[in-house]
Amino acid sequence: MKRRLLDLAHARSGDKGDTANVGLIARKPKDYPLLVKHVTAARVARHFKGMIKGPVERFELPNLHALNFLLHGALDGGGTISLKTDAQGKVFSTALLRMEIEVKR
């Protein structure tokens, strides 16, 4: 069964220079392992293909039932240099929540 991340998680994102971060948080702690298993750095890199120029890093925060992603080269130079509406990466969070993962019933 396909599940949209929006139904399983919430998120907040921000910036550090030309890197956007997305913190992805399980709505229910029991779903955190699903995120760990399916929302890999490679999967996130594919999801954002064409939108980011650099690699994706992932960090685990089991204590907060959260994953943190760093999307490098996501912000057209970032900060004041960027020509993007979302120059500070504020809505990469919900862009990640569009992702669908295959979950066993």
């Binding site: 919430h10 998120a11 907040r12 994102s13 921000g14 910036d15 550090k16 220079g17 030309d18 971060n21 913190g23 948080i25 709505r27 999801h47 954002f48 064409g50 939108m51 960090f59 685990e60 925060l61 089991p62 204590n63 907060l64 039932h65 959260a66 943190n68 760093l70 057209d76 130079g77 970032g78 900060g79 004041t80 240099i81 020509l83 993007k84 509406t85 979302d86 809505v91 969070s93 919900t94 862009a95 569009r98």
Partner: protein, 461 residues
Amino acid sequence: MSAARANGVRIAAGQGFWGDWLEAPYRQVTGGPVDYLMMDYLAEVTMSILQKQKSRDSSLGYATDFVTQMQRILPTVIERGIKVTANAGGVNPRACADAVATVTKQLGFEGKLTIGVVTGDDLLGRLDGLIARGHQLKNLDTGRPLRDVRDRVLAANAYLGAAPVVEALRRGAQVVITGRVTDTGLTLAPLMHAFDWAPDAWDLIAAGTVAGHIIECGAQASGGNCLIDWEQIPDLANVGYPIVEARPDGTFDIVKHPGTGGRISVAGVTEQLVYEMGDPRDYITPDGVAEFTSIRLAQAGKNRVRVSGVRGKPATDKLKVSIAYFYGYKAVGTLVYAWPDALKKAQAADRILRQRLKDLKLRFEAIHTEFVGANATHGALALNELDPAQIPEVQLRIGVRAPDKAPVDRFTREIAPLILNGPPSVTGFAGGRPKPEEIVAYWPALIDKRMVEPSVELVEA
């Protein structure tokens, strides 16, 4: 323990950035008991704006809004003995303190306020000496040495930690005005002072840093910009800004004043914890390194989240330096296209405009197009899920960036002609021709801690 209170020390967040809600500081000091008010004013680029103001008038170069705020809250602050920590001093903390001293006297509180002034972060005048002594100040992102852009540097400030703020409080300052002190240091310092935490009590330092991180963006910890169940968050019009209620053992609660709107929940605080996060095992500040992977959160009551378990590691021997330098010019122009085929029309206009820029042989470092209403925020991820024929309107938003002003200026004159000589159903140009903007960019670097000596002085109002 100064400011001792049965339920610990309460530090209220008053401003999450320069431009935050003007009502927040007053509401924080009057809405219930607090011991400290923390106000964060400095973003990376703010320092260059302030440096420019100071070069024109040596009595400027600080966050002037802070003085207006102090004028409003001083009667309460003095009556209740509330202490204030703020990095509103920008590149001229002494002038900011003088301005606060002046309004203090005007309000009739002469002799009743001691202001601490923290300086030593400003490295602009020392850059050539530092570079000559082998401090390359390499860009942390690109590895380039600062000498590549030295002649374009507009501001350079080391991030100071909590230590000089603690010193100012110990020496009796009620209001501490700093230059570039870290956002987290403004919360950590009052805790170190109130609880006599040692600077190498790494777990406690980390706990105070986490407390600072949670409240440094103001209402982002109490229901603002909170995604989870956002429609259920009550009364954001009357949102209560967050308050840290800390205990000497380093555990603390995030709360807000009674009768205010917003919501303080584990999920909401978690959102703020992951905001702007890098490697969660190493949240590096001048004061120490916090391990965000150790944080425990629990709902300890309505609108009360308990934070515990925070572990820390020793501080590094470096300080981060925030350098601002002139980068070039940019401009952004917009036009709005209406149904039918709104997106197609905007796309056609983009193609035409780009062709004209090419024919004019204008050279840009970047041309960036967005179709607001279709792909500006989520790119192709959004476009793939849309039925383009049904989009009622699209804003074409096109920006250019170049080292020189001339091509950017010419670009700004190419938007309006499209109204009459491009695709149809176009509107939304009442704002007129866009203006070329100077780009002041951010250059993050590290410096040996021993090169930076914070200094504290007291000003009696």
